[in-house]
Amino acid sequence: MGAKQFGARVSRLEDSALLTGGGRFVDDTKLPGMLHACFVRSPHAHARLRSIDASAARDLPGVHAVFTADDLPASVGGNRMPMLVPNPAIEASLTQHCLAREEVCYVGQTVAVIVADSRYIAEDAVALVDVDYDVLPMASNCRDAVKPDAARAHSALANNIASTFRMGYGDVDAAFASAAHVFKEDIWQHRGGGMAMETRAVIASLDPSTDLLTVWSATQTPHIGRRMLADLLDRSLESIRVIAPDVGGGFGPKAIFYAEEAVIPAVAMLLRRPIKWIEDRREHFLCATQERDQYWTVEIAVDGEGKIKGVRGKLLHDTGAFVPWGIIMPYIAAATMPGPYVIPAYGLDVTVALTNKVATTPVRGAGRPQAVFAMERLMDRVARELKLDPAEVRFRNFIQPEQMPYSVGLTFRDGKPLVYDSGDYPQAQAEALRMINYEGFAVRKAQARAQGRFLGVGIGNYVEGTGLGPYEGVTVRVLPSGKVAVATGATNQGQGTRTTLSQIVADNLGCRIEDIVMTVGDTAAIPQGVGAFASRQAVNAGSSALMAGGAVRVQIVKLAAHVLGVSEDEIEVEDSIAIARGGNRPSLTFRELARLSQGMPGFSFAPGQSPGLEHTAYFTPPQASYCSGTHVVETDVDPMTGAVKILNYIVAHDSGNIINPLIVDGQIQGGVAHGIGNALLEWMKYDENAQPLTTTFADYLIPMATDVPTCKIAHIESPSPLNPLGVKGAGEGGTIPAAAAIIAAIEDALSEFGVHFAETPLVPERIVGALRTAGAYEKLGGLR
């Protein structure tokens, strides 16, 4: 075997092009005759469409066409878009029209599309389209929206309840009745966004000679996109190719199939010209899906020692105007709540509310950060009330490693019983505490306080279902050139998919990593695919890469043994060469083997031999694999301004075996940054008419280089027994417990004033407001 790639800090194969301006993002493609599109969007959160007069826009020089819903073919102009993850608990299964018909239900909803010589001219034309709106009452705040007399988000619906369901197990009421203590928290978490640096983008082009429709899209899910397009455009799958080239960040919102992704291809077919639409940042703030909007009222029952007897409560989830991705976020949130703790009884009543805001769909973490925040706030409350150390309360309640596999008692969103496959939660917390010198913190805090500084420490634990099925495929093919073509339905928005899959194929096939030519995110390269979400690609595609690489290796061994006239167990495969171990070590290169494997016209194959060196594997995981970890954060809070500085950020992370520590560390660090944004900065604000107010990067604040410290990361490796690599997902764990740990640390820093926080983002103004209410400034002798 050559150098083993699995587990090595292999520097990324993606980087050279991206560092020299050679990346290929959707907007980098320029096709002959290409026109540019811009959408006319609703300025209202809720309105009836009376009429659309586009005549002035059509008359503007440089404008080629303006399309409304009625101008599109009925399949795409008349029908609502398909829902991705249906669920029987969904009462109002509403998705939007590609271009609005009769009613618009959020600001930014697509009403018409303009096609022009340039984006500049298309934007000029938008101002000339006269849309007559009859403004309707709107549902802005989800807590108001669920009241009986609330304005309805959709005029055709009787109320704003998209779904209600209960998740739980055990006798919750009995647990609470017999508990020594019961504590209750009201928790709210506001909307934020994925905010990839690259906005959404679509190019569509129909080749009249082959009738092949090619769509380039900045998407996490090209194969799902192709299926959607086949439905909406009434075309065969084979006549559509969707390419996700280099994609500039995903984080969830790019996993959705959007109206624009259907309209642009439809228009390209109507006009017989390639059409490009690049979402601008304002559109992204209005129309790319968002997340986190949840209100929790939860109670915890504990015994006198702080051991949990039960958890119960209510969760109100704002799904926005539509449910394109079903109700999986509140579902995941409800299933994530128990986390790493033994909770004998649990019950959560979930209400999903419709409002006149853009839909919420998964954003990095997908419901889990909210659940972890709720659970960890309860744990901190127990510690405070029972005067126990917060770390100790958690140690008393952890599921122990010897209890693995541990059945929580719930059904996860993959429809399978929620069973934690492996993990060592006490070890992760102990390691994180050791790294931050938790024992020495009290002294640090006291010393800082003597200098007028306020330090705090906070802990966040989580368990995350990752690696969701159904599958992700990998094809490995040895080319006549000797290169190894690898194709996968997995996609790459920065995760280093090419690098990690190349590592696995190199190890399991026995080729040089530089011989691999990888195609990701192209439906033409592999027939079936799912895409990037739910931290699933390492588990699914990684395992398929192992299987496909191994299968082709077997083919190589067979062929080489046959040609060299030795037995199969004599053959070694490494560095893209098959070598016989004995004699004078005769060998065949992959190039020679690939050519031999094609056969010769008129000659028969050896018995059992099949043409080509090629295999496609689709690994199908039996259920989710559960990664876990502990974050511990040390903050310095300025009580006078409410400013929070993160001094020290520790992550003890367990995502099973690690393919590439360089990349996993990068995923964690990036995830933490997103979590810091959620905890302290990012707040998508709307007014009482559901008008978005934070639609620039100067108003919606994502973390800068001065807001994110470099984390110290420890890896606990509890291999998953559920896949051949023993890996678990790592893309979201950095985000999930961040807010919980940070808010706890802020509260701890200000503990002498007795202030409590149960919201994110926790902005400086709220910190100051709480301190003022608590009389902190009198205690501190005034403002300074």
Partner: protein
């Protein structure tokens, strides 16, 4: 987010520039473009003509004479940041300018542009208010000098008429060794301040304040001088009592609110930041940097 159509003019001289502005309809002056162009890209600002001053070389430069610093309107923020004159004579400006946007925007942004844009939270107008700056404004009819307290007249609104150009800023200098303090609170590095305070003090050898200038930014529609705070400091030693008295003057102000902060929080911050700026100034007063 592409700007609406306009025509572009690049006059070589101030005379050409003012002549253009006198004749063109719906024209706007382009300086560094770091505030104007975003608003054009959002189409909040739609103009028929842009008159770019970049080629009017006479408008750039920093000079000191007769106790005043003169900064040409087209002087880039970066040049101010690295100017030895500014460091020597006007340390408040140096301290403040590091908070203006980011290095990448300071390379292009100009002091004249900052003043003409007149964002209520911006640092440059705040320093001008603190220094009792005189703004030189030139139109086709001639040049006039406007004291800063008559320059900023509202939210992003100045005394500059549509056919006029800000051509220079004159800052009356304070004696060498004066105390100064600049404190602002922004959510992130380089963001517009939620609130801020700029302070100048001149103390005698015994540490008694002879003269004080106190300015807040972010709390009103323009930078606010606080005469009551200045009065409370003058003739006093810069101790906690005097600082407390000056800070008390903030309480009579009713700050603005927007999506980023309530009036209560802005008032609170203004008090904290003023106290801190005054302590900074106290520590520096009488020391020659």
């Amino acid at each position: 987010m592409k700007p609406a159509p306009f025509d572009y003019h690049a006059p070589q001289t101030l005379e050409e520039a003012t002549a253009l502005l006198a004749t063109l309809e719906n024209a706007k002056v382009l300086a560094g473009g770091q505030s104007l162009v975003p608003m054009m890209n959002f189409r909040y600002v739609i103009v028929d003509h842009l008159v770019d001053l970049a080629k009017v070389k006479s408008l750039a430069g920093i000079s000191v004479a007769d106790g005043r610093m003169r900064i040409g309107a087209m002087t880039r923020q970066r040049e101010i940041e690295f100017s030895p004159e500014v460091a020597r004579h006007c340390p408040l400006l140096l301290k403040a300018i590091k908070n203006v946007g980011h290095r990448q925007t300071r390379n292009r942004g100009t002091i004249g542009g900052s003043l003409a844009h007149a964002d209520p939270a911006a640092e440059m107008p705040t320093v001008c208010a603190a220094h009792d700056a005189v703004i030189e404004i030139t139109g086709h009819a001639g040049t006039r000098k406007v004291p800063f307290n008559e320059f900023g007249i509202g939210f992003m609104t100045t005394a500059v008429e549509p056919n006029e150009i800000v051509t220079a800023i004159e800052l009356p200098l304070w004696p060498q060794g004066h105390g100064y303090g600049f404190q602002e609170f922004a959510r992130r590095h380089g963001d517009f301040a939620v609130a801020g305070a700029a302070v100048l003090v001149d103390c005698d050898k015994g540490g008694i304040v002879r003269r004080a200038s106190v300015t807040l930014c972010g709390v009103g529609n323009t930078p606010l001088r606080l005469p009551a705070a200045e009065a409370a400091l003058t003739g006093q030693r810069l101790d906690d009592a005097a600082i407390g008295a000056a800070v008390n003057a903030v309480k009579s102000i009713e700050p603005t609110s927007d999506i980023h902060a309530t009036p209560e929080y802005r008032s609170h911050l203004a008090q904290v930041l003023l106290a801190r700026a005054l302590r900074d100034a106290a520590g520096r007063c009488g020391k020659l940097d």
